[in-house]
Symmetry: C2
Subunit: 457 residues, 2 copies
């Protein structure tokens, strides 16, 4: 139980400047990108691994919940401190400790913002492939905790694929170092991978070593407008089967296109039912050939308009518009739910139709935005949570969408995680044995259940 | 304790044809690619997951060790049944159950040989990137259990990066399904990753879903001969910093070159101190440019001879020769120890010098073969184990090589695993907390310690 003595002890560890418990500060850390809210007792902003360790020793002794937090951009309630206790925000552990251009790795603190690492890496001709839409603010620590993906996942995979090693503080304050600085490393169990995607429930990550990749010589994007969504979906599977490996391949339906266009005026085709935005990278000569071939394949599937970006600026403008989709959608109605179902790529056209039919059936607005190249779809549900009738229809629609995705060989979350939002649906994709093993791992690492408690495990 | 009643029960599960306990059969499964030998009580060749489950139920009840085995090509003693019991060989679970060209995945049984999957994937314009030198015989089950790499690791990573889901039988016979068929999947802890590289100590893998990649349009290889090894090492770090991402970049010293040439006559330059064999792939136009640039960089670092493969056949011949290295070396002396140290790429020239100086100091022959592009080195120690004096010098040399690698920021094993061979050295690269956590995970999954007992955990 939280009390003044414990508050004093915690305050003593981090110092006055990095400790907050005024109501207005606690409110700031009581919510994230999802719906629920819960007040913490205190917020700490540690500066060193040793402080994190000291805080956890106290929390462990006293049974106080600790919820680690990056930028709070997750949209599944993963950083909401549902059992109160301490929110540990990594805002002040935001330094890039080392960047080796020759060995292509960086060692960073968890509060380093994804874009900050990109900027620094680019100075050495490198980049960090995971690119969640939130990259301008989301942190590497959060990216690791959620195993974040992004549009570039089609070619480059997800955060786990770029993780070489971690420093983790365990529930009782012990400090663990996993992995190393080499890409190949098979000495013992993959503990690094175990912490990645564990959403703060197994340990608190305080240092991260990531692999960087050489920046490609050229990047080009194509935008193709399709009179019907089905043609766009089929073009996706056709391109993926053609031998070309695009960096990113985004599908937007007319709802999403209209809202992005209203917000950015970037010039997306308004009359199309589906728009594909596809990026390729690599040596200039190859990129030019690939863009041409992709354009042909789009036209073969009925694309009425195919535009190719002619410069880096034009390319960047298109993708900035795409990244603004969530914000654009969120402006249009009081509540915007972003789902994250994922299906095998060949099932994409079917899943798009299923989502549209669910929307029609329940008379709600769903915009379809998909990282189409890896089958990862974000149905954007626009509604008003305060309207009980509409809300119950939304809840039913979400349930149906999850079931359809699983029936098609897919899963509930591609890159956003489980958090609070997906927890009730986990049995759909995880058998009882897997959930039992997960709980066993949780009990082993956090026997008192103080790390981000009340979440999916 | 093994007895006739248990033997009967096990025989009853798999049937007469898939059960062996004659001494000559047990001897065949008493060793692998490393030195130690130990006799199992029986060998079973299961055909279905349910049989594996039934066998494990009996083994769990009776406390009988079970050692899963693919092709036994590992060179760390990982499949030697040091505590006796049952060897479970997957020779008869060797079918590709499904291959989806559109969704780029395959579902395979663990006994499918790597080359068999490559052949089937190639029919659909796809490939499975992990390419251990043993690929003609080693199994996908073994590749997963060891998290195998291979030359292509520079560009394409290791087995873990292509693993979507697993069926695993736990120690007590329960059956677990992890992951799925989609590339992006973040519902809960990464159990798939936990089993990958666990060397048969956490569960028995009976079905594997892997991601496949599109076969590149073109592949070209360059062979560059350097009068001194140091120049070759420097060329490696220079190429890796140039923005080009080769598929593979192999470094061979004069000992290795001579023995390969004697065995294959493929035409490697005999007078060089170091030879680089580099492969690039991608669209034809890009590949041609990259090969030219790599050639220039090699010449700038003193390469006296640079040859480019002009056809697929020439390319294949060069790589087949490289893959024969272990066999060629093994012919030359009674004992050949293959080490697997890995350092950050920039430390490669230093590590090469360290190895050569260790060899000289202890008056033993060490050939240097390296997957240079990812810093993964295989010092090949040629000796005679029956000579106690030479053998003690070899043991001392191995110890020194491990310590040097770790001092340079590296690790003991890049892709071969721990098995019996590296177990004593694990504390060099894993802190006490990590080893404790590993043991905790082992106890959680295998409380009676029946799965591949006596190994590293």
């Amino acid at each position: 139980m939280w009390n003044e003595r414990i508050a004093e002890e915690i305050r003593g560890i981090v110092g006055e400047e990095d400790y907050m418990d005024a109501p207005e500060d606690r409110i700031e850390y009581s919510y994230d990108g999802y719906i629920p809210e819960a007040m913490p007792e205190a917020v700490v902003l540690p500066r060193r691994t040793e402080q994190v360790s000291e805080i956890l020793k106290v929390a462990y002794r006293e049974g106080i919940p600790v919820t680690p937090r990056g930028a709070g951009t997750n949209i599944v309630g993963g950083t909401v401190p549902v059992r109160g206790g301490i929110v540990m925000a990594f805002t002040r552990m935001n330094r890039i400790l080392e960047l080796s251009p020759e060995d292509r790795y960086a060692v960073v603190q968890p509060g380093v913002v994804n874009a900050q690492l990109q900027t620094e890496a680019a100075r050495h001709g490198l980049f960090f492939p995971p690119d969640p839409a939130s990259l301008a603010v989301s942190t590497i620590g959060g990216n690791v905790a959620e195993n974040a993906g992004g549009p570039r996942g089609v070619k480059y995979g997800v955060t786990r694929d770029y993780l070489l090693g971690l420093t983790v503080v365990l529930a009782d304050g012990r400090i663990l170092r996993t992995g190393g600085r080499t890409v190949k490393n098979v000495t013992g169990y993959d503990l690094t991978g175990l912490f990645c995607g564990s959403e703060g429930t197994l340990g608190v990550i305080t240092e991260i070593t990531v692999k960087l990749m050489p920046l490609p010589e050229a990047q080009r994007s194509i935008q193709a407008a399709f009179p019907d969504l089905d043609g766009a979906g089929k073009a996706v599977t056709r391109i993926m089967a053609s031998g070309i490996l695009p960096v990113a391949m985004e599908l937007m339906d007319s709802v999403v296109v209209r809202l992005i266009e209203e917000a950015t005026g970037v010039g997306l085709p308004q009359e199309a039912e589906g728009v594909l935005l596809i990026m390729v990278d690599g040596p200039e000569a190859a990129v030019i050939q690939e863009v041409e071939r992709i354009g042909e394949l789009c036209r073969e599937h009925g694309a009425s308009e195919v535009r190719v970006s002619r410069s880096t600026e034009e390319n960047e403008a298109l993708w900035a518009a795409r990244r603004s989709a969530f914000a654009a959608m969120a402006r249009s109605r009081p509540t915007c739910i972003v789902e994250d179902v994922t299906v095998p790529v060949s099932r994409l056209p079917t899943m798009v139709r299923e989502i549209l039919s669910v929307a029609q059936k329940h008379q709600i607005t769903i915009g379809v935005l998909a990282h189409a190249g890896d089958g990862n779809m974000h149905p954007l549900i626009l509604c008003d949570r305060r309207d009980p009738d509409e809300w119950s229809r939304v809840e039913e629609a979400v349930r149906e969408i999850f079931h359809r995705a699983v029936d098609l060989g897919g899963t509930l979350s591609g890159e956003h995680g489980v958090g609070l939002a997906k927890e009730p649906f986990l049995p759909l994709v995880m058998d009882e044995e897997s959930r039992r093993l997960m709980r066993g791992v949780k009990d082993l690492l956090d026997p008192k259940g103080i790390l981000n408690p009340g979440k999916f495990v």
